[in-house]
């Protein structure tokens, strides 16, 4: 599907979906509560078939966190970027690890580096950092006592 066709098709799945102008691929803002149901539909609708989650990450905007999901269909070769705004003090979103298995590792990484809680994640533990690490290093207000660059 082209970008325009996707933009016309997606509101059928979710009314409240909002699209952003510009960008390389179609950008859609989704509320955290709607995400899980939409994700299932994105993967399972034959005309969309977003089966490849090629990037999942988070951005700290100081006032809030934004989860960014880059999706691609290996059948139709169209891409979609989903963004979910999360509260910074209590960031919670449903996991998609059961839909795209690659999300399991990505979400563990985001959990330790940004502090996002993925609800119903099968194994939400730290992946890269030591178990006793405090703080979320990729947040903007994280102060590293030994900053190699500022030294």
């Amino acid at each position: 599907m082209t970008r325009e066709e996707l933009q016309a098709r997606l509101p059928e799945l979710l009314n409240s979906i909002a699209f952003a102008e510009g960008g390389q691929w179609l950008n859609a803002d989704v509320a955290a509560a709607d995400w899980k149901a939409l994700a299932l539909n994105l993967k399972n609708s034959p005309d969309l078939a977003f089966d490849y989650l090629f990037c999942e990450t988070c951005v700290d905007w100081k006032t809030h966190l934004t989860m960014v999901y880059h999706l691609e269909s290996t059948i139709h070769r169209h891409q979609l970027v989903i963004k979910i705004k999360l509260d910074r003090t209590n960031p919670e979103v449903e996991t998609v690890a059961d839909i795209w298995r690659t999300a399991e590792f990505h979400e563990r990484e985001i959990f330790e580096l940004f502090g996002v809680i993925f609800l119903h994640h099968p194994d939400l533990r730290k992946l890269i950092l030591p178990d006793d690490w405090e703080g979320f290093p990729l947040r903007k207000d994280y102060d590293d006592p030994v900053n190699m660059i500022k030294l």
């Binding site: 510009g22 960008g23 390389q24 691929w25 089966d51 490849y52 989650l53 090629f54 990037c55 990450t57 951005v59 700290d60 960014v68 880059h70 290996t74 070769r77 690890a97 059961d98 795209w100 298995r101 690659t102 399991e104 590792f105 990505h106 119903h120 099968p122 194994d123 992946l127 890269i128 950092l129 030591p130 290093p137 990729l138 590293d144 190699m148 660059i149 500022k150």
Partner: protein
């Protein structure tokens, strides 16, 4: 819940492989739960070489951050640099001179060859064949010398910069690349003869660590690992960058999805890489090797994502820019990270002795996974 996360019962044995283990080729730590000799669960513990490159990049300018990426997948450093340069060029709308595009693609393919050569030798050594390691390092040395002459480095190249390449190629570059190609065309058949048909080798690889097409996509696998399971995912074909749309090459696919298929895909990929180099090496156009760019690069406000095909798969650079000289947030989508996540899935129910064959054919580079 996805499925029962492997539970430890009485009689199970938990062993640690790594972080210091010759077959992990880096500091990877696997906690393996065994029942007899059968693997029940593989749990990777990462972070032994985590340098927080993403955080570091937030304080580095768009010229500086490229050098850090050579230290991620150090066997594909040219291609990592390429991905970053493409991202900056896309954001700043820089037109790259065609001479630079040709040089870049040739360098990418030489890197892929060197990486696959190292993989071939190391993987064979891991499963007990010692000779291939010496053979592959003999040929890899030729590539390293070519690289050294032009880039001044043998591993962390830092040769590709936004707008082109840092210096022009060495006067002997084309001659030496052609010599290498001539030489390696014969040698790769020798590789094949030595190892591929060997019955012991085949028994160690066949039906070991089989990965289905659906799982490969779902786990986000890319590169030869996914192509061995029949997933067409070559970024060079799907989203051609630089001069990849001007060359003819086959995307190597297999359907078996086992370790032997992954092995064969990589071996055939080397042949395709040589084909690409053959088509380009005589046609490098004259002209500038670097576009004129400003001394200080500032990306406009927005988001940029560039994708390249490294020796391990789909490498992505995702940048959120606020219009400053440094990125606001940068994310490196490293192929090794997703490829490693599938290890637990393919290893369950297999024998412990086969773990090395599975790890070897996933072609893991640990600094690429930890970043």
């Amino acid at each position: 819940m996805l499925e029962e996360v492997g539970t430890t019962e009485q009689g199970d044995l938990v062993i640690n492989v790594g972080p210091q283990h010759p077959a992990t080729h880096g500091v990877l730590h696997l906690v393996i739960t065994l029942n007899g000799e059968t693997i029940k669960k593989v749990e990777p513990h990462l972070g032994y070489i985590h340098r927080s490159i993403e955080k570091m990049c937030e304080s580095l300018t768009y010229r500086q951050f490229i050098y850090v990426t050579s230290r991620m997948d150090y066997l594909s450093s040219h291609i990592n640099n390429h991905g970053c340069a493409l991202m900056v060029e896309q954001g700043m709308q820089i037109e790259v001179p065609s001479r630079a595009q040709y040089i870049r693609v040739i360098m990418d393919e030489l890197t892929r060859l060197a990486s696959h050569q190292l993989w071939w030798g190391a993987m064979a050594m891991d499963i007990g064949a010692f000779t291939p390691f010496f053979l592959s390092f003999r040929e890899r040395e030729m590539i390293n010398e070519i690289m050294e002459e032009t880039c001044g480095a043998r591993l962390t190249m830092n040769y590709m910069v936004p707008g082109g390449v840092m210096f022009d190629i060495h006067p002997d570059f084309c001659k030496k690349v052609k010599e290498f190609n001539q030489h390696f065309k014969v040698k790769i058949d020798e590789y094949d003869e030595l190892l591929t048909g060997n019955i012991i080798f085949q028994n160690r690889m066949k039906n070991v660590g089989t990965l289905s097409k659906e799982d490969a996509i779902s786990y986000g696998c890319s590169g030869p690992t996914a192509r061995a399971s029949g997933v067409s995912c070559d970024i060079r074909k799907i989203f051609p960058y630089d001069v990849y749309n001007k060359v003819e090459f086959k995307e190597i696919l297999a359907t078996e999805g086992d370790s032997l298929a992954r092995y064969k895909v990589r071996l055939d990929e080397m042949r395709e890489s040589m084909r690409i180099i053959d088509q380009l090496i005589d046609n490098i156009p004259e002209g500038e090797y670097q576009a004129k760019t400003k001394a200080v690069l500032k990306l406009p406000k927005g988001e940029f994502y560039s994708r390249v095909e490294t020796a391990r798969g789909d490498f992505g650079v995702y940048v959120v820019s606020e219009g400053a000289t440094t990125p606001y947030r940068i994310k490196f989508r490293s192929p090794g990270f997703s490829n490693l996540s599938v290890l637990d899935h393919i290893a369950r129910g297999q024998k412990l002795g086969d773990l090395v064959a599975m790890m070897g054919t996933l072609d893991l580079v640990i600094p690429d996974i930890d970043r």
